[in-house]
């Protein structure tokens, strides 16, 4: 019998999820206003089952759009620290129904925030890592490629080897459960009564189903992430400035691509007064004698230093005080984004391609320059350059 694999009956899975919902926060896909989103659910019956993928990746459960990093207040005009944001004190989190592309994205975020990818494990991000350690990932292998799916190109699916605690594959009868971590094996021990042994036939059925999905993707989908060509062109700096300027002309700078990306994690930091009320209070408005004139530092109120999701495609991302503006044109910002997603340099640093092929940027991009289109344009450049040389 294969190690770390079990067979699970359909109703037994629901019983396990109901059990988990009692002891932890169970987050699973639900349908809201026609869109599939990851939300906390009270019981297994509330979970949406017929979905390809969620509108946005579940990264908000690890990196919320807004979160406090520090709390402080002023006493007699002097700042007093009230500690960090306090993340991670929540109930354990169980994430069910995550697709492989998002699991791969989360794995990459974990390598990044743990400081591993930059070679600085001493500077791990506390809030992210506490949430990550607090979470159990039960991923579900895709059986139907969606219209924008491209994980096959990026080693982001349909099934994975690591990054999950349990990887579940729907079989003709029941589920195949694969444990990908110590926590996953402990979970199997906890629910040993509901799990049965997985035979070689179940493992073979999973392999066949995964193979079928990949086949259907190649047959029916026209979307590809041209990782080899795009990697070569970005990594070697072979794309002319005109290529990026043209891309910048098309981009409408909405930033949607990075907000829906499972591997994007850039953030801004801002000090916000009287946080919690949702409004910037009186203390939040620094006094200014005249527009642009001297501003006095605040000396009252309670404050939060918040991290807010940010985006390298937005114009103010790299603008410096004093006027220096390294990437002033949108084309240059496009270079930064696609270099981060596709270059070999970043593969070397982070251990994986910056794109997991979820295809969301292709869906949300108002200008039609998702990663599939851009990598295709890069391929044209590569082929064009070769054609000119011969």
């Amino acid at each position: 019998m294969p190690e770390g694999r079990w067979w699970l009956a359909t109703d037994a899975l629901d019983a396990i999820l109901d059990d988990l919902a009692g002891s932890a926060t169970l987050v699973a896909p639900v349908r809201r206003a026609g869109e599939v989103l990851f939300r906390p659910v009270a019981r297994a019956a509330d979970i949406c089952r017929d979905y390809v993928n969620s509108l946005v990746p579940p990264k908000r459960f690890f990196l919320p759009a807004t979160e406090p990093l520090l709390r402080y207040h002023f006493t007699d005009g002097q700042p007093v620290l009230d500690g960090d944001g306090g993340a991670g004190a929540e109930k354990p989190l169980v994430l069910f129904g995550v697709r492989s592309c998002d699991v791969a994205g989360l794995e990459q975020l974990t390598r990044f925030f743990s400081g591993e990818s930059l070679g600085h494990p001493e500077s791990a991000d506390g809030p992210f890592m506490r949430r990550r350690r607090n979470a159990t990932i039960l991923s579900v292998v895709c059986q139907e490629p969606g219209a924008s799916c491209m994980c096959v190109c990026c080693k982001g699916g349909p099934a994975l080897e690591s990054g999950f605690d349990w990887q579940l594959t729907r079989l003709a009868r029941g589920w195949l459960v694969e444990a990908g971590s110590e926590r996953g094996r402990e979970l199997a021990t906890r629910f040993a009564a509901r799990l049965g042994p997985a035979g070689d036939d179940a493992v073979a059925e999973k392999a066949r189903r995964v193979h079928d999905v990949v086949e259907r993707f190649y047959q029916h989908s026209h979307r590809r992430v041209q990782t080899m060509a795009a990697g070569r062109m970005t990594s070697q700096g072979r794309l002319p400035a005109a290529f990026w300027e043209d891309l910048g002309e098309r981009c409408v700078e909405c930033g949607g691509c990075a907000f829906v990306c499972p591997t994007c994690s850039c953030f801004n930091v801002a000090d916000v007064a009287d946080a919690g009320t949702g409004e910037i209070g009186e203390a939040g408005a620094p006094e200014s004698a005249a527009p642009g004139g001297p501003v006095a530092a605040p000396s009252e109120g309670s404050w939060e230093r918040q991290r807010l999701r940010d985006n390298c495609m937005l114009a103010g991302f790299v603008r410096q005080a004093g006027g220096a503006y390294p990437r002033a044109s949108c084309g240059e910002r496009c270079l930064t984004r696609f270099f981060h997603k596709l270059s070999w340099q970043f593969v070397e640093r982070t251990g994986a391609l910056g794109c997991t092929g979820c295809g969301r940027c292709a869906l949300v991009c108002l200008a039609g320059i998702g990663i599939d289109r851009v990598s295709a344009l890069m391929t044209e450049q590569l082929v064009g350059a070769k054609g000119a040389a011969t």
Binding site: L69, L70, Y72, F74, Q78, P79, L81, G83, D84, F112, G115, L118, H120, E122, S123, A124, D125, G126, M129, Q236, G237, S265, C266, F267, N268, V269, A270, D271, A283, G284, P286, P294, V295, A296, A297, P298, S299, G301, W303, R305, R307, D310, C312, F317, V318, R319, Q320, A321, G322, G323, A324, P326, L335, T336, F339, H340, S343, Q345, F346, R349
Partner: protein, 295 residues
């Protein structure tokens, strides 16, 4: 790379939690006028901190935010932790106007910092444009603390107009310790350019190169200043004077939010300026320049 890890191991929990430090002393370096922003040097409570020249701090004004500011004093001097701040934006403006007794938040030291070891025995050429000098001052002092390890030490300092030169009060002390100081200003003020000492010229800082007596084989150059100076100055030194790229060192400046390689604002190609920099050698920058302008 110069990367020398002198970063104290920080607990994962307190990566974003600053320690409080009081402003002990404030010295106005540049008085503000119609065209000039105020520049001030703040002496801060050191609180047992150690750092390398070229490293920076995330300096926070409570109620406003944090900004990356390089440490302008050498680690080897007892007691002093100094930062020099120009009123460039909301937070730095508040910092530049702080009074003794005010409290700031400090995180760091961040970044790799300079390594003087690899330049032992050489002539040191410091090229500092305007607010580039604070970033080099710690290194200059560190070199003076081990003066016998180096040959000539030359400081070229330039700014847009004479009264924007910083640390003018310290030039005499540096000269006494064997630093050749040469000054430049893009335009004179009718008076400054007629003074004799230190030697000076009206023009760009690169005009001083010819008067600095650069011997390429013996020279290590440290450049810091506005982007255009880093680019043109470095090219001049390498191409016209033959200083090898691996002995031309600069520090890059970027918008930063976290200082610990997380927020993504300071990325240049695949380098995080806050962790992999801010100190870079020109040969490394040349490689990055094939993808994106690093300055």
């Amino acid at each position: 790379m110069t990367a020398v890890a002198a970063r104290p191991a920080q607990d994962a929990g307190d990566l974003y939690v600053p320690r409080l430090s009081r402003v002990l002393e404030v010295r106005e370096e540049v008085a503000p006028d119609a065209n000039t922003r105020r520049v001030a040097t703040l002496s801060l409570e050191r609180g047992g901190m150690d750092w390398l020249p070229g490293q920076f701090l995330q300096v926070g004004v409570f109620g406003a935010g944090e900004v990356p500011i390089c440490i302008s004093s050498p680690p080897g001097l007892q007691g002093a932790l100094m930062i020099t701040v120009r009123d460039a934006g909301p937070v730095s403006g508040m910092l530049a106007r702080m009074r003794p007794g005010a409290v700031v938040g400090l995180r760091g030291p961040c970044g790799n910092g300079f390594s003087l070891e690899e330049h032992r025995g050489r002539d040191l050429l410091f090229v500092a444009g305007g607010m580039g000098l604070p970033a080099l001052r710690g290194l200059l002092w560190q070199a003076l603390l081990q003066r016998s390890d180096f040959g000539r030490i030359v400081l070229l300092h330039g700014s847009r107009c004479p009264h924007e030169l910083v640390y003018t009060w310290q030039f005499a002390e540096w000269e006494k310790q064997g630093v050749e100081v040469l000054l430049s200003a893009d335009r004179g003020d009718g008076c400054w350019e007629h003074e004799e000492h230190p030697p000076r010229c009206v023009g760009l800082i690169t005009a001083l190169f010819d008067r600095a007596g650069i011997v390429a084989e013996k020279t290590s150059a440290f450049l810091c200043g506005p982007a255009i100076m880093i680019e043109v100055g470095g090219r001049d030194l390498m191409q016209r004077f033959g200083v090898p790229a691996h002995r031309c060192v600069t520090t890059l400046e970027r918008h930063m939010k976290c200082g610990v390689g997380k927020c993504g604002h300071c990325v240049v190609v695949d380098r995080y300026v806050c962790m992999d920099g801010p100190v870079f050698h020109y040969d490394e920058l040349a490689a990055l320049g094939r993808i994106e302008r690093p300055w």
